[in-house]
C-alpha cells in the first residue's frame, strides 16, 4: 500500500494493513518532526512532493523490497504540507515471517526513500529563518545561495 497524503498519517491503519497470519513479525517506522537539530531549534516543517513521481517511486521501493527481502506485506505513507513538532511525516510498516527480515526491509525502505523519492523538506527555524534541506549541499552553501 502506497499513500501520499496531506492529512495526518494513521499509522494504526497502516500497521493493520500489513498484519497477516503468515507473518511472525511486524516493524513500523515513524519519522517525526524533531525540535532540535545540531542545537538549532525548529518551529515547524514543510514537505513538498512531486506527487506523480513520488507515488511511482514509492511503489518501486515496495516492489524492490519484495525482491530483496522475505517480506509478507509492505505499506508506506508520506505526508506533505506543514507539520508541527512531533507530527509524523512518514510511516513504513513491514510484515515478514521472521523479525530479521522485517527489521532489514524497514531499514532499507526508509534509507532508500530518503535517497530516491522526490520529496523535499523545508525547515522553519525558531529564529525566523527558513531553509530547504538538500543532502550533500552544506548549510554553508545553502546560506550563501541567498538569492534563491
Amino acid at each position: 500500500m502506497i499513500e501520499l497524503t496531506t492529512e495526518p498519517i494513521d499509522y494504526n491503519q497502516l500497521t493493520e494493513s500489513v498484519r497477516d497470519h503468515a507473518a511472525g513479525a511486524v516493524t513500523l517506522f515513524l519519522g517525526t518532526v524533531r525540535e532540535f537539530t545540531r542545537g538549532v531549534q525548529t518551529s515547524w516543517l514543510e514537505y513538498e512532493a512531486y506527487p506523480d513521481m513520488a507515488r511511482a517511486s514509492m511503489a518501486e521501493l515496495e516492489a524492490e523490497a519484495c525482491q530483496k527481502f522475505t517480506v509478507t506485506k509492505i505499506a508506506i505513507s508520506h505526508r506533505t504540507g506543514m507539520m508541527a513538532l512531533g507530527e509524523i511525516s512518514v510511516a513504513i510498516a513491514v510484515s515478514s515471517p521472521h523479525r530479521d527480515q522485517a527489521f532489514e526491509a524497514g531499514r532499507w525502505l526508509i534509507d532508500t526513500l530518503k535517497e530516491r523519492v522526490p520529496i523535499w523538506k523545508k525547515e522553519h527555524f525558531a529564529d525566523g529563518r527558513e531553509e530547504w534541506q538538500h543532502p550533500g549541499m552544506t548549510p554553508q552553501t545553502n546560506t550563501t545561495g541567498a538569492k534563491l
Binding site: 512532493a49 512531486y50 530547504w132 534541506q133
Partner: protein, 81 residues
C-alpha cells in the same frame, strides 16, 4: 520542439515558476536542456552539479534524449522522510 519542464523546491524558487516551456532542437538531451535552462536562469548555475532530472517519473541521465510528449522535471537533491 516545445518541452514543458516542471520545477520543485529550491529549483522552483530559483526559476520563479512551477513550470516553464522551452523550445529545443529535436533530439536534444537532458544535458543540453540543462545548459539552456542555466543560460535562461543563471540562479540555477549554483545547482549545476546537484540538479536532478526526471523523465516520465523516472530519474534521467545527462544523455537521455527527449521527446515532445515527455513529462520532464528538474529538482535539487531530495530530502523527504
Amino acid at each position: 520542439m516545445n518541452l514543458n519542464v516542471l520545477f520543485f523546491a529550491a529549483a522552483r524558487d530559483a526559476v520563479g515558476a512551477d513550470a516553464v516551456t522551452v523550445d529545443v532542437p529535436e533530439g536534444s538531451s537532458i544535458g543540453e536542456l540543462q545548459q539552456l535552462m542555466i543560460q535562461r536562469t543563471p540562479q540555477l548555475e549554483r545547482w549545476s552539479q546537484a540538479l536532478l532530472w526526471a523523465v516520465n517519473n523516472r530519474y534521467a541521465g545527462c544523455d537521455q534524449v527527449l521527446h515532445a510528449s515527455d513529462v520532464i522535471a528538474c529538482f535539487p537533491p531530495v530530502s523527504g522522510g
